[in-house]
Amino acid sequence: MPSYGLTIPGADSRLYVTTISTARPAPDPKPSSLPVFSSRATRFGSIKAKAATVNDAAAAEEERKELSFYELLGIPESGSITEIKQAYKQLARKYHPDVSPPGRVEEYTEKFIRVQEAYETLSDSRRRAMYDQDMARGLHLAFSARRYQYDEGMEGKGDWKNRWQSQLSELKRRSSYKDDRQNMSWGARMRRQREGLSDEV
């Protein structure tokens, strides 16, 4: 039940919040969806670095370095399911930690997990469509890749998924006229990400 904190990303790069319900106080609009665990780096304590990154520019810079799922798999955005599968298989085999050079298990594990995420998203036509939509708006990086995994294991467990999807597309419809610029600011993307979270609440 969306009860608070639905934010509509505006053209303005400064923070702009709309709550669709007044039942709860409007949340502090600061972005809250930076990857808290920041992948496997937690083990080495670099969560500190990421979690403490309050510098928008630095964070945005970091985000940009992340490859899209297509770039990660090295295939065109028009790539067929066969190409996706082929690319995934090659990379999964290449980066499986069991075949990593000595001392690089961590690095390979991280790459392997990223490739896995990309494959699981792009090999599912529904999730791929969602991802493509987000990418067209430059939102794919703001959304945590894990965003697309949330339905995993939930199939057949009620219609929450449909509801959630229709909510999402409604939000996108409402927001698309405002954020059709190719390059949104980091703040706008973060709000977009927050919106993704709050519509699940």
Binding site: P27, D28, V36, G45, A92, S100, Y108, T109, I113, Q116
Partner: protein, 571 residues
């Protein structure tokens, strides 16, 4: 730097992280500890060598006899195994008992064994004892397994003429992570160092991949179904075998497994042959132990005979005026065990479904394990998989141990100049892992059949206004009900700031690394902040110990629903 993560270490003796970080250019043996039989093998660079005991046998009965307080594993033949079984001094079926609490149905069905298995049904470890003279000498499955493993190690050392430390073990698909820690403990007690634990059918799949590679791949991808049924467990895997020159790949797509096996066939048959067997089977007087030992041996022999002939004459004097004189035919045996066979079929159907592979898409079906000789098993596997014939290329009793030996060779980092055994096994999680949330429900975070290493995150929130603490209770399994799953551990998130329910974001991440170590991380964020309010909790699972069966209940009694979590996306 306030955000340093802390780790709550579990009680496992050895850190698998340490193990994986160093390479061992030493010999690694593969061990297939079966419920009833056991095999040890090494890969000698070009082929599998199954090690033999001092009696020149490749197959050892998995049991340990307790005599005068000094237990000894006997790598002996079936005859002396039968004899020791009659006295109540031998402990066997360790693999069925290890890591299970006394509320587990598998433990309950073990009460009919000649040695003592007692349950209090409160969720603690069962009381297990061997009859030594006039005393019941208590023991644990870990201890028995460790004694047995020491024997196996010594046997391997004598034969290979070098010290052995590293092993790859094959285990049932349905083993929980808690059961894996018990296996690790037994290995540590026996001075063995686990390089890898493999679900049994995945070891078979790896061997299949090597054979496919050696014979030259006919097509790019081959879908293969492995059905492995032994005395204690039945496992199914669907694997894709492919070549990524020069490497052969076995990519596991789906795994299913259950604690059903030849032991169940045997028990059903014993009850069928002796209709009022219950009294006899549950008593542990000296005479009764002998009687049920005799019944067990006679029934076992009859079942073996029925694999090659249509009917069998059973003629046995159990003592105390109990005699069985009966002809049993194959049809009768199949009828008595219909439920077991039905479950076998449903495991295959489930596995194909999970793998999203149709029977017609299977290139090969591999049937292995002690039960593979039973005609009914052969038929049902061929029926469900819609195959006229099964893969013939491997010895059903040696496939798992050969795969383990092969994986050991690969994992030990021995350089292979010709890349003849360059194979890779890509594994999946056999069971889902998740937490208790949304009332008394199990919410999976990493679903079963997820390729590992894996990492998944889910968002939860509080269930009460101003909830100051939240319990993260970690379970593993695929049961509909929470209680049907295995409790792995629990921890508390403290210091939640006062807020209406549904406001705090509780992020739970699960991480399974390259060594199959599971870590659960939990962080709390308040809306508008991207810095966790407290240091992130990082807990290595499992944390529970042997008394864990009643933990869940005790937690519930102590806290009720006051510290519950609610998953965010389900509302």
């Amino acid at each position: 730097m306030a955000e340093a993560a802390y780790t709550v270490a579990s009680d496992s003796e050895t850190s698998r992280e340490e193990k994986s970080s160093c390479t061992f250019p030493e010999t690694t043996i593969g061990i297939d500890i079966g419920t009833s039989q056991c095999r040890v093998a090494i890969w000698n660079g070009s082929q599998v060598e199954i090690l033999k005991n001092s009696r020149n046998q490749k197959m050892m009965s998995s049991y340990v006899t307790f005599k005068d307080g000094t237990p000894s594993g006997e790598l002996s033949n079936q005859l002396s195994a039968d004899h020791d079984m009659l006295s109540g001094a031998a402990i066997f079926n360790m693999k069925r008992l290890i890591g299970r609490v006394d509320t587990d149905p598998v433990v309950h069905s073990s009460k009919s064994l000649p040695f003592l298995v007692q349950t209090l049904d409160i969720g603690v470890r069962p009381f297990i004892a061997a009859l030594v003279g006039n005393f019941w000498r208590s023991t644990t499955p870990e201890e028995v397994l460790a004694i047995f493993l020491v024997e196996l190690r010594e046997m391997a050392e004598i034969q290979l003429k070098r010290p052995i430390k590293n092993v790859v073990l094959t285990l049932p698909v349905s083993f929980s992570r808690f059961q894996l820690t018990r296996i690790e403990r037994a290995c540590a007690m026996a001075g063995l160092h686990i390089l890898k634990l493999m679900p049994e059918p995945t070891a078979v799949a790896l061997l299949y991949t090597l054979y496919a590679k050696q014979s030259g791949f006919q097509s790019t991808d081959r879908n293969v179904l492995i059905f492995n049924m032994g005395a204690g467990y039945c496992d199914v895997a669907v694997s894709v075998t492919a070549e990524e020159a020069p490497r052969g790949i076995s990519e596991i797509i789906a795994l299913t497994g259950s604690a059903i096996g030849g032991e169940d066939l045997l028990q059903n048959m014993m009850r069928h042959l002796l209709p009022n067997a219950e009294n006899l089977l549950t008593s542990h007087g000296v005479d009764e132990i002998k009687s049920k030992g005799l019944l067990r041996v006679a029934t076992q022999n009859a079942i073996h005979s029925l694999s090659s002939q249509n009917s069998v004459q059973i003629d046995v004097d159990l003592g105390n005026g109990m005699k069985i004189c009966k002809v049993v035919d194959r049809e009768e045996f199949e009828e008595v065990n219909r439920a077991v066979f039905d479950e076998c079929a449903s495991l295959i159907i489930q596995c194909l479904h999970d793998a999203k592979v149709k029977p017609e898409d299977l290139n090969d079906v591999v049937l292995v394990g002690g039960c593979s000789y039973i005609p009914k098993i052969k038929n049902l596997v061929m029926n469900v998989c819609k195959k006229e014939e099964l893969y013939e290329g491997m010895n059903p009793l040696e496939a798992a141990v050969s795969g383990a030996a092969l994986q050991g060779y690969v994992a030990s980092g021995v350089h292979d100049p010709f890349e003849s055994v360059d194979v890779l096994s890509i594994q999946v999680t056999p069971l889902s892992v998740g937490i208790r949330a949304d009332g008394n429900n199990f919410v999976p975070i990493i679903p079963r059949n997820t390729t590992i290493p894996a990492q998944r995150e889910m968002l939860f929130t509080t269930s009460h206004d101003n909830q100051a603490e939240a319990l993260v209770i970690v379970y593993e399994g695929d049961g509909e009900k929470l209680e049907e799953n295995h409790l792995l551990g629990y921890f508390k998130i403290e210091g939640l700031p006062p807020a209406p329910k549904g406001v705090p974001q509780v992020r739970v991440m699960m991480d399974i690394d390259a060594s199959n170590v599971l870590r659960v991380l939990a962080a709390v964020l308040m809306p508008g902040s991207h810095v966790p309010i407290n240091p992130v909790l990082d807990v290595r699972m499992p944390t529970v110990d042997d008394g864990h069966g009643w933990c869940a209940e005790a937690l519930h009694r102590a806290y009720g629903a006051t510290q519950d979590l609610v998953s965010v996306k389900r509302i």
